[in-house]
Symmetry: C2
Subunit: 324 residues, 2 copies
Amino acid sequence: MNDVAREAGVSLKTVSRAVNGVPTLDPALAERVFAAIRTLGYRRNELAATLRSTASTATIGLIIGDMRNSFYSSVAAGTYEIAREHGTHLITASAEEQVELEQELALALCQRRVDGLLIFPAVGDQSYLQPEMDLGTSVVFLDRPGTGVSADSVRLDNVAAAHTLASMVLEEGHRRVGLLLDTLEVLTIRERLDGVRAAFEEAGMTLDDRLISTTAHDPEAATKATVAMLDLDDPPTAFIGKNNRAIIGIVDALVTRGARARVVGFDDFEMSRFLPRPVTLASFDVVELGRRGATRLFDRIAGSAGEPTTERLPFTIVQRGSYR
Amino acid sequence: MNDVAREAGVSLKTVSRAVNGVPTLDPALAERVFAAIRTLGYRRNELAATLRSTASTATIGLIIGDMRNSFYSSVAAGTYEIAREHGTHLITASAEEQVELEQELALALCQRRVDGLLIFPAVGDQSYLQPEMDLGTSVVFLDRPGTGVSADSVRLDNVAAAHTLASMVLEEGHRRVGLLLDTLEVLTIRERLDGVRAAFEEAGMTLDDRLISTTAHDPEAATKATVAMLDLDDPPTAFIGKNNRAIIGIVDALVTRGARARVVGFDDFEMSRFLPRPVTLASFDVVELGRRGATRLFDRIAGSAGEPTTERLPFTIVQRGSYR
DNA sequence: CTGTTAGCGCTTTCAA
DNA sequence: TTGAAAGCGCTAACAG
């Protein structure tokens, strides 16, 4: 910048003003500065610019579970969209649902002075964020609330979606309903179970514990659990899958066994129309989850005050599968 | 940092040394510094640290086409994996295959002083990168080479994969083969066409222009083009799809028409086993593409010299679909 | 092994 | 409207 000032025959500060587009600068001077910049091939150092400045670093961090999972990459797409509108860079990191790793990554991002953090909190304690938040870093939780700190969150309306799916199945006359879930440590899963349970209670029924699997982490595990339920004396006539991968596992089991059963579940996916059995899915707009989270974060970064809020995204019911 | 020094009763530099883990520091002094850090809640500013230092910013940039596309998000996953091993942050940006946007994003990342850039170059000219590379920013191109600059690239062996698929179909006795491609402006597509053409020539045959579609951008367009070919007097008995989305479109057309045809193509995907027709796919390890690109980039950042290299990832042939 | 001084590239005073 | 000086938070260089 000094070289540019010398070349243009102006002071350092005038170069700074030109580069920052300060309107009170004489256009003739500005043009001389830009000419010098071109001849010298000067590149402004954005990092240095934020050092003295009270302005932000124009960078936010996103901590997700797993980049290969389309759920998370869709959220990242929505987040990026909003970040781009704000001229902000997005640093994405993957914590693999481990809270220690999440903490390490979040603190590293804070050391990098990100303006804000969007986090899918892992099972565990997020109180490590409190000092960072006190120091001015904004935080928004996605999909589930953090533990031990109070911050904004944007979530899915799991209870209502689960209630709707379960009511539908019960109204169709099914009485034996198998649930393919994951560990109940995860709030999202508990919410989905709660919604189903509420629908059962409204119908004057109770859930059979033997028809609740909490091990359907992936398609293969879901298949195994489904097969086990089909082998019961009084097997389910309907199944509810906790997400797209559970649905795949259920359908796989049914096809392999040549069994017929009603299948419903959560999350739509691109290939769902090719499922060889008809399925009904409660679908959430996951890209919108990323957009809303980022929008809330930028509100806070811009200084929006007030108590932490919780936003819940609605769902839609879609019919898929039974391709022949 | 000054406050910490005062609190610990040492000099600024000693705090710096403690924070950086300089081994020649008296452990007793270091402990006093850390105690002061804890009581004051001091957070090191990584951005300021890289200002004076000749060291890197420990950040790399990745410019992809579209975050929602699993092809790109898989590459991002592989890139992140390697970046993490190097203690480096990953800033991801999406240029939507537009070269002007790509240039804007790449230059913005250079202003942020990323150590290196991984780019899926859009159709157009990448010579805008030359000044940045001269200034020391490393660049590696993914999936296709950049135009107008010479840099490392990691690519897929499209020609060989296309040749193998086409030879397979011809050996099975098919003589009318429909190609569902995208615009030939994209090198990857041209390579795939070249591989098919070579296989045809080896078999003493030529491609029928009416059986080459260059409009199969998405599943719907692929379906349309497939239907048009099926309506010809002498319709294809086999189809080659340019990627997973083209395959979906082809299968959709066949199922809707109740038509039988051999289907082969590029790229495996999670749901391919549920396709209602048997398909043979040439599958590339896309996560590995991200890993290799990042590995090459870190080699260059570490100072590895030499002429730009081109690496090509191999493919594997997999059988999918025909689920009942 | 520790401290002092200068300076990274830029912005913020505040005076002219 | 422009410029000089000071300083952001840290590290490099060189003494001691």
